[in-house]
């Protein structure tokens, strides 16, 4: 039987905030080419997309203003899920050049990979809330707070997935393609373009297992319908988010020590 024991004194990562901030800032800069135009576009993208979708859906679904808003919320929240999970899955390989340079908490690379998508989601949320207020349907403070809590759950889910997928991607080089197919199919599993009610009730539980489903439905419920989901529904969402985060962290912990060997 072999025994392994390694101990290292940390190399100054007490400056953890600096590492996190630099990873987020450079990701943002890489994506928008560090130009003023790129930065302005990053801010305007959610607003312009919101206005375009609103204009189109106002014409196509003129008689159903409720459906129009439901659709926009569903599309934006699902796009966040697609973008953030894709970035998370690719994160370790994309930053592989750092992993072979020094010993540092590499999970930070995975966790910060969703920052671009999170900024877009935050800006969309502001645009949505302003629109609701201007159209005389301002949600209550508690509804906004609940919406924020749902997004934190969403971040936990995305982080859990990213932790597991990023290390598995080092071994399975086509995992990104598989995940792309899954998220495309998942678009139709989540009730984005159709109301959940058109499906038999016995299927609802299964659909809720697909993480974007409860987030989208609960967000619509508190912001558009003014209804708060039950305590049981909230508890189940928390269990789902914490479960995915825990599984992701366990998979990451098991495989991360060997990640550099696959680079």
């Amino acid at each position: 039987m072999t025994s392994v024991a390694t101990t290292h004194v940390p190399a100054g990562h007490g400056h953890f905030g600096g590492l996190v901030w630099t990873l987020i800032r450079t990701d943002f800069k890489t994506r928008y080419h560090g130009t003023v135009g790129g930065f302005v576009w990053a801010l305007l993208k959610p607003l312009t997309m919101f206005l375009v979708l609103l204009a189109v859906f106002s014409y196509v679904f003129a008689s159903e203003p409720q459906y129009r808003l439901d659709l926009i919320i569903g599309l934006f929240l699902y796009e966040f899920f697609q973008e953030a999970t894709k970035s998370g899955l690719l994160s370790l390989r994309a930053k592989g050049y750092l992993l072979t340079k020094a010993r540092f908490p590499s999970w930070v690379v995975v966790v910060t990979s969703a920052s671009n998508a999170a900024v877009t989601l935050a800006l969309f949320s502001v645009v949505l809330l302003v629109f609701l207020a201007l159209s005389g349907r301002a949600p209550t403070a508690s509804a906004v707070a609940l919406y924020a809590v749902y997004q934190l759950h969403y971040l936990a889910i995305v982080t859990g997935f990213s932790l597991a997928a990023s290390v598995l991607f080092m071994r399975f080089r086509d995992l990104n393609q598989v995940w792309e197919v899954v998220t495309h199919a998942g678009f139709f599993v989540a009730p984005i373009i159709y109301p959940l009610g058109i499906l038999p009730e016995r299927m609802h539980g299964w659909l809720y297992l697909w993480p974007p489903t409860p987030i989208i439905l609960f967000s619509r419920s508190v912001l558009v319908d003014g209804r708060v989901p039950s305590a049981l529904a909230h508890a189940l969402l928390t269990v789902e988010a914490v479960g995915i985060l825990a599984i992701g962290a366990l998979v990451y912990r098991a495989r991360a020590p060997r990640v550099a060997e696959y680079l």
Partner: protein, 255 residues
Amino acid sequence: MGPVIEARGICKSFSIPSVRRETVREHALDFFRPRPHERLRVLEDVGFELRRGESLGIMGRNGSGKSTLLKIVAGIYAPDAGTLAVHAPLTPILELGVGWNPDLDAIDNIELLGTVMGMSLRELRTATQDILAFAELERFAHLELRHYSSGMAARLAYAVAFRAVRDVLILDEIFAVGDAGFKERCQGRYRDLHRAGHSMLLVSHEPRTIATFCKRALLLDHGRIVMDGPSAAVADRYLMLLTEAPAEHAPAAAI
């Protein structure tokens, strides 16, 4: 004074499959097909100590396990067996010639690499001009790394790493980069750090480098330490090893 690095019985091998399966599709389609693996032993029962303030050289032929050993000591690879205790913060300078974000300029890349190596943003902001000056790249500070030559990129990396040094410095072929002037600056910085009491672990193929900068050295061959002694004697033994016929078993590759 106690050692800053203690390694005992370090073993490392890599599993090399006869057929590589790297995708979900390949794993699914070939699930029931046997896939023999060959174990490539890279390090076998390696043990050494690095004392505080000491400069220890490591020599060995290509594939003898030097780079793998450095990566294990740096915490980048995990050993299969053995114990490793590193009692002081260390800064590895490994594979620095490659791997930057090509879409960012030198200043952003300095910040990225510096924070990964444990520097604070405040330290980095005050050191940025010195780092650029050390690498002689002040004029190209705002140029994206995609436009740098490999030599410029390597100089920038070494400049960052030399500035990020904490206590123990791990160097892999450090003096093989850049022109004569840059090599001279690297050597000067190395001597300054050594005089300041930093401990050094230095890998090189160059006997003169090991004999000049280290008092003691290890000689690795086929993943084992075959000599631990004065650096000049180890350098001589290394030169003899190069002229000997290769052993029957193939040398392990550093992965």
